[in-house]
């Protein structure tokens, strides 16, 4: 018994029907009939154009020896020099590995756990208890990342609580916060602590949208709570999960630099230095704009390939995709 939302199907069938007329004509007609809708969408379109598409022109810098005085148009064109420099950099593999691993582990833990948390919460009958737990769980989300990192530094120093706990289990490498082996665990663990509740909100609301009559029918068929979860709840939110998963895959190379640069240090570069933090160091701190643009462009290209792949696989396997 599977329930798949039919929204996408309806859309696509509507598209197929209207492909008979050429695009320009359809657009014109649509503009005439639904101009209010287009008006409403205009600010959003403008936003994406101005802030996301227009700056893409700056990619040109990746192929130039950019000099501030000469500007984007006047700087000398150097082709793929910057890319060559990055591909021969001793840090290339480490940066790639760290970026992918932090993303992958992040996905592995911080993606399913909010779902499980939402499912558990869904089973709680006491409304007041449920609300309280939910509120408490997403409170850490509102703590600034700077504060979270300073808490980590305090807990992770040589006589901090995390280090002490680790030494109970035989750890003798000193402060965990300055240990390369602990970096990913601390990074992902604190992320999880901070975002678990907040990330589960979308699933909780998706769960609320599952038709109650389906549960009734399942109960009549003799399904217990576990079976109900397996056959009603999960399929009910499957499309939400998959769309969010694809979106997450689209960010697989996009480990944010903010938390990393707050947390890392020379002793943890080995596992902590990611492409974004490298770009920050080279581009913003050393003002090597061309090179950092090239590195970031490479990052974006890899990212896009992953996104397309994930979407393609998802479309083949279970007919859900973001486009």
């Amino acid at each position: 018994m599977t329930v798949i939302t039919t929204g996408e199907k309806m859309d696509s069938s509507a598209l197929i029907n209207s492909t008979k007329k050429p695009f320009a004509k359809r657009l014109k007609l649509d503009l005439k009939n639904h101009w209010q809708m287009y008006l409403l969408a205009l600010p959003v379109i403008a936003y994406f154009f101005i802030f996301n598409y227009a700056p893409m022109f700056g990619i040109v810098m990746a192929f130039e020896k950019f000099q501030i005085k000469k500007g984007i148009f006047g700087s000398q064109f150097v082709g793929l020099t910057h890319f060559e420099r990055f591909f021969t950099s001793p840090f290339l593999w480490r940066l790639l590995r760290n970026t992918l691993l932090i993303s992958f582990y992040g996905l592995l833990f911080s993606f399913p756990l909010p779902i499980i948390f939402a499912l558990c919460l869904n089973e709680v009958r006491n409304k007041r208890f449920k609300k309280t737990v939910q509120t408490i769980s997403y409170l850490p989300y509102f703590i600034s990342v700077v504060v979270v990192v300073s808490i980590l530094f305090d807990f992770g120093k040589a006589d901090g609580i995390i280090t002490n706990m680790a030494s109970l289990f035989g750890w003798d490498g000193g402060a965990v916060i300055s240990s390369a082996r602990w970096f990913r665990s601390l990074y992902i663990g604190s992320n999880l602590w901070q975002h678990l509740g907040y990330n589960s909100i979308i699933f909780i609301s998706a769960l609320a949208a599952v038709d109650p009559t389906l549960y009734e029918a399942a109960r009549i068929d003799g399904a217990n709570r576990w079976k109900q979860t397996l056959h009603v709840t999960l399929p009910g939110i499957a499309s939400t999960i998959i769309v969010l998963l694809i979106l997450r895959l689209g960010q697989i190379m996009g480990v944010g630099y903010e938390k990393i640069i707050l947390m890392y240090g020379p002793s943890t570069y080995e596992t902590a230095d990611v492409i974004a933090s490298y770009v920050y160091r080279v581009g913003i701190l050393d003002a090597d704009y061309s090179y950092s643009t090239a590195v970031n462009l490479f990052n974006s290209v890899v990212n896009m390939v992953v996104l397309f792949l994930a979407n393609f696989i998802s479309r083949k396997v279970n007919e859900t995709s973001i486009w």
Binding site: K157, A158, D159, S178, S267, Y269, D288
Partner: protein, 573 residues
Amino acid sequence: MRKRFLSSLTAALLLTTVLGGCGSTAADAPNEESAEATIKEADTPLSDAPSEASAEETGAIPKSDIYKGETNQQTYPLSKEKITLTYWYPNAGSIGTLADYNDSEFFQWLEEKTNIHIEFIVPASGEEGQSFNNLFITGELPDIMYTQPKSQMYRDGMDAAIDDGYICDISEHLDWAPNYVSWLNSIETAKQDVFTDSGKMYGFWSFWDNMENGYADQGLSIRKDFLDKVNMDIPTTYDEWEKVLTAFKDELGIEAPFYTSKYGIDHGEFMAGFGIAPRFYQVEGKVKFGPMEDAYKDYLLLLNDWYKKGLLDPDFATRKSTGVAADNDMMLNDKVGSLVDWGTRMTDAYISRGATNPDFWTVAVPQPKKSASDPDPAWRDVSNNYHDIQAVCLTVNANSEHLEEAIRWVDSFYAKDVYLNANYGIDSEKDTVWYEADDGHRIGIYDFRYSNPDGLDSATVAAKYWAKNPPVRCEASQIEQMPPERAASYAVWSKYAPTNYIPVTVTMTSDENAEYTQYFTDIDAYIQENEVKFINGERSLDEYDAYRATLKDMGIERCIELQQASLDRYNNR
């Protein structure tokens, strides 16, 4: 040659006015007689001219012409109408509790005197470098910028900033800067430092007033009360240090007997006894790179040994900053035995900062040596101070609407009345903020600063009554106001001549700079990372040769060559 002639002429003009004894500016008509007279007395640029011409032909850098003069040569107000200049002033950390530097009595006084209002642009603490780069990208360059060329530099080098038309070449406007010219003439070594290799002047450099050989405002310090408790003397050799630190650890249970910042390496005060320095340094004109030297490995072996014995701060790998600014808490709670600290924090200064131990007492200690008979290390931290100049200069926007006023405003700081007021508080605050010593020079009133009657903290007092880090600093006399024990620290640290230091004003060409950063950004990250590992034992020091080989692969030898080339040019200036 034409330009040379012009600058000679300008200089001659300037001279004339100085000799004429009039306080007005170079607008006066030249007086041939007096000009000739002074040329004979002064550094005689005209008679140098033939040799300079030949120097130019052979590609050497010509020396510029500077004349001796007197201070107080500006006419006030500097502007008839009230104008506003923007001033990029990255001193967020020094503002205390003031909202704006215009709340400073000194800047209010200066505004009245010069008729120039200053709009301070203060970037957030820690984002100075980034903010500096952004000034150029956005094209919204302020009229005046407070620049630290070691940490904030135009991407292609400061020379390029002039060529690209951003920064004003002050050597073309020396007639607007008579006070500064006087300063340059009064200091033998200054000329080499203030001119770039191509003979330009991108900034007004900061000077120490009346200081021989610069001075050190920070250095190694140790808890004297701890030493007394364990019955030991101030250590002078590495062996003695180890005994003292061990006693701190075993007898007193100190958590960090030796606190190192900068991920364990500090500024080189402690390693200097091995004859090395943290990064680039020079030995008689030859550039060397610390981590490539064998002695550096020995030093890391020592630190590794001490780390294993628990003599280092167990959290050293997370300590970025200088001193304990980032971790005052450790200092105040008796967890630190020795460290690199600032002079203003010596002796009992921590008690007023909240140290719980009433016996708190730190004293300055000399840099350790391998054996007592070794010569003194030829190194100390001079990241701030070299010769008589500081690593800070004020640059002026070449496209400023008020170029002349901006230059004159900056120049006024080199006049005695202005810099005295900037350093000690304004004239009308005599006997409140400062007093006059018997020989007429000013001394700040210690109690006013450190136990302020209005309850202000010492940083706010500094910001409110004088100018923080003015272009001329009278630190020597400021030390006098301190209790003798604290003042003595400066003498301990300043004892070491920083002959191995590479001057801050060494400049690379824009091509060199581009090539250098391409290598060195990665190298520096790699070194920091591995030094931490060598010290905490994650990487064995047996692999030091492999490590050096990696550095070679990463281009360290080319970096040394580039540093050498720029140092050679500096020495030939």
